[in-house]
Amino acid sequence: MPRSLWNGTITFGVIAVPVKLYTATESRTVRFREVHLADEGKIEHRRFCSKEEKEVPYDEVVKGHEVREGEFVVLEKEEIEAAAGDRAKIIELESFVEATAIDPVFYEKTYYVGAGDAGTDAYRLLHDALGATGRAGLGRFTFHNREYLVAVRPLDGILGLHTMRFADELVPGKDIDFSAPSRKPAEKEIEMARKLVDSLHEEYDPGKRTDSYREAVLEMIERKASGKKPRKAKEKPPEETPDLMAALEASLAGKK
């Protein structure tokens, strides 16, 4: 049985749904720690006062926000908490939107939401009704002294809660500036490229692809540990395509 991170209540209309929140994702990237290459000594991060050139114990460190070059406003823990907003453990679903209308860029982190100890019929009702409408409920959620915009939707038989990015946190495409080509791609080229897209279409299965790099890194570590030389992969990065049409034709031919 997983351990819940947060217990609270989701509301829609006047209906209260007691819920428990769980971690849904975990990174499996190979983690390294920092060492001093000369003696493999552990690297420690020590805090120093830039004025006194002296190490500073943690309890003498405060948080300051720079309002102007060199001018800081120091905030106490309680003052930061004051900005957290409503700390009641309630997520009020204020509106419901078509789940498919939300662009992937808005999704940040996902949590699982399970039924609480009471009101479990209301939990099931919310789950089934969201499923029937294809909508996601939007609301605000305060967690660890920070308020989030969240979307709640059915996920693998339970409810999922996604924290969302705010619109102004997304970089508009026009900020990524580059000039257009002097000549547009020809209709024929686009048509061939689309054919190639179609030929590569598949039913998406998230379990099908695994992190083979992670496996290769672990294997390399094992080889080093047993005193062997790490294997060198022989692949070369590809070169720029000089002739688009020829490359498209060759790609399509290779698919057949």
């Binding site: 204020e94 019929d121 495409g173 590809p238 720029e240």
Partner: protein, 313 residues
């Protein structure tokens, strides 16, 4: 123009386009620096070798991996790169899939890809990918390596540019096993009512309508602190509502409220009333301080509610 995070090329069949990658999300959260309480000077983090008790320059730091048998293996960045040299330079498109088939739980961070270099051919090839991939509800699936981690990515066209979203691997998603799936299946009449309620509260997805109130409040707290005011965390908290005994009656009541517009369906925009919304969270003392600031007449005899009204007006 933001700073590129990675450069390499995107490879689609035998078509290969040199690109640079930019983050498509920016953190607008209020930033804090660590300071020394005593003198307000910045705190610097310095790396020390624990063996020698000596500061170590960045170039002398390596990556260590501890094996289960207690052995430690130190690897270099070059060794990590040599494990998959192609992928550190190339985003390989392996397939195309329906966007709807990918659950949002997999999405991690958004980026943009832009063509790099002065070559007209590169920009034309980039444009070709945009035209070929700009189809509704479809994404390209690919992979590449950035800073010692391999990413599975979904690429689609957004704002006439190639937009890349990194995704979590299948084994990075936890099982939902053991999580309580709730009570009994709702009766049809109940489900119909709940569906009607959700539809009544239905709106278009308008991301701009949701503002980051937390950011705004933190900025306000900083401004007030700067002016020398004392800030206290709100003491009161709303009480959690109890589960309703009669779901059907609650649904009817909710629907009646949603229908009468008593419950607003649109998200509540707070920017304009940000301060007002907060006033209710303040103690009488704090309200009184604000009233002093604004020189509200008769403030000393006002109740909390009267102070809020006066400050709002």
């Amino acid at each position: 123009m933001p700073r590129p995070l990675w450069s390499g090329s995107i490879s689609f069949g035998l078509v290969n386009v040199p690109v640079v990658m930019f983050s498509a999300a920016r953190d607008l959260g209020v930033r804090f620096n660590q300071l020394h309480a005593k003198d307000g000077a910045r705190i610097e983090t310095r790396r020390y070798c624990a063996e020698e008790d000596k500061e170590v320059p960045f170039e002398e730091i390596g990556r260590a991996f501890d094996l289960d048998d207690g052995k430690t293996v130190v690897v270099t960045d070059e060794e990590l790169q040599e494990v998959a040299p192609r992928r550190t330079r190339t985003i390989d498109i392996e397939a195309f899939a329906d966007l709807a088939a990918i659950d949002p739980i997999y999405f991690d961070h958004p980026y943009f890809l832009a063509p790099i270099g002065d070559s007209d051919g590169t920009r034309r090839a980039y444009q070709l990918l945009v035209e070929a991939m700009d189809r509704d509800e479809q994404v390209a699936i690919g992979r590449f390596v950035m800073r010692t981690k391999e990413y599975l990515v979904a690429i689609q066209v957004r704002d006439e540019r190639l937009a890349l979203t990194t995704m979590r691997w299948g084994d990075e998603i936890r099982s939902t096993k053991g999580i309580d799936t709730g009570g009994k299946k709702p009766a049809k009449a109940q489900l119909d009512q709940a569906v009607a309620l959700i539809e009544a509260l239905g709106t278009e997805w308008e991301p701009e309508a949701w503002d980051d109130r937390h950011r705004a409040r933190l900025e306000d707290v900083i401004e007030r602190k700067r002016k020398g005011q004392t800030i206290k965390a709100p003491a009161q908290e709303r009480e959690e509502p109890s589960p309703v005994p009669d779901l059907m009656a609650a649904l009817e009541k909710s629907l009646a409220e949603a229908g009468s517009g008593k419950k607003k369906a649109a998200p509540r925009k707070e920017k304009a009333e940000a301060r007002d919304g907060e006033l209710a969270d303040l103690s009488r003392e704090e309200l009184y301080e604000r009233a002093q600031e604004e020189d509200v007449p008769g403030r000393s005899s006002m109740s909390k509610g009267e102070l809020i009204d006066a400050l709002e007006g």
